[in-house]
């Protein structure tokens, strides 16, 4: 995977399949501390301690269709190869938190990439799930909370064309205001 944002899309898809109703994605770049951290949290079915212990093993998967599961190992490797860290905490019935920390300036850190596309795709493809997305760049940040959108919209679905393009503009403009167009 060439971008961190593609890893985020992939790992967040696991949350949707875990039956989560709320997925929280938090990206924060701290230039002074030279860190980029990504936290993906869900309230899905969670995993047992045995599953957590094995989930970073590419030859472990709960699917029965085939024997490999590469998404989490890819993400872990991407973070750790920059001198960062990776962790998964999970409780059955409560949900899962995946945390990846990257060293911003490390030569092996892949670019964050098109995070706006990732979040837009997640929301549009799962219009019945809620997403809480926070993007922080040093002191500035913005948040997108689909629950807030839903309160305003009532029964208009998030994937109606007008709303979809509003969400796209919201993500694009607010990201630009937050990071000033920094190329992470």
């Amino acid at each position: 995977m060439p971008e961190i944002s593609l890893n985020i899309l992939d790992v967040a898809e696991n949350s949707t399949r875990a039956g989560a109703s709320l997925i929280t994605i938090c990206i924060s770049a701290d230039c002074k501390a030279d860190r980029l951290s990504v936290v993906i949290k869900d309230n899905g079915c969670g995993m047992t301690p045995e599953q957590v212990a094995h989930v970073t093993d590419p030859f472990f998967t709960t699917r029965t269709t085939r024997k490999v599961g590469l998404g989490v190992p890819f993400f872990k490797y991407a973070a750790e190869s920059t001198g960062g860290s990776f962790s998964i905490e999970s409780q059955p019935g409560k949900g899962t938190v995946v945390t990846a920390v990257f060293v911003l300036s490390h030569i092996d850190r892949m670019p964050l990439g098109d995070i706006t596309s990732t979040i837009h795709t997640l929301i549009l493809c799962h219009p019945d799930l809620d997403f809480l997305y926070t993007y922080q760049y040093d002191e500035k940040s913005f948040t997108l909370d689909t629950r807030e959108f839903r309160t305003i919209l009532g029964d208009i679905p998030l994937n109606t064309p007008e709303i979809s393009s509003y969400i796209w503009d919201y993500l694009t403009e607010n990201k630009l205001d937050t990071d000033g167009g920094a190329n992470l």
Binding site: E13, T121, L124, Y166, Y170
Partner: protein
Amino acid sequence: MKSLEELRAIREKMQGQVSMRAEDHTHTRVVVGMATCGIASGARPVLNTLSRLVQEKGLTDHVAVTQTGCIGLCQYEPIVEVMEPGKPKVTYIKMNPDKAAEIVERHLIGGHVVENYTLSSADIN
């Protein structure tokens, strides 16, 4: 910063508009494989192109673009399946945004399967 006021304005504008969504059984479903294999080979821009064009061309009343997990043909990703009611499923392989645009134009609008990109036309040996 873009505000929620604009969202309220959009809602006001949309109120009273009768939803023209067709019944599910008359919908054409366009499904993109979005597991690790699909995403790694470029499924996200394919999905984005498909949903953007379907909206721009005003096809949302009878075409729904959705995603699925791994289809089991990882070597052919990105894969796009088109399921039209009453017709056999068409599986397009090794998609990219340009090919996706062609499928919207020629298949979803024109009604003709783009044979060159289908799985059945692939040389499987």
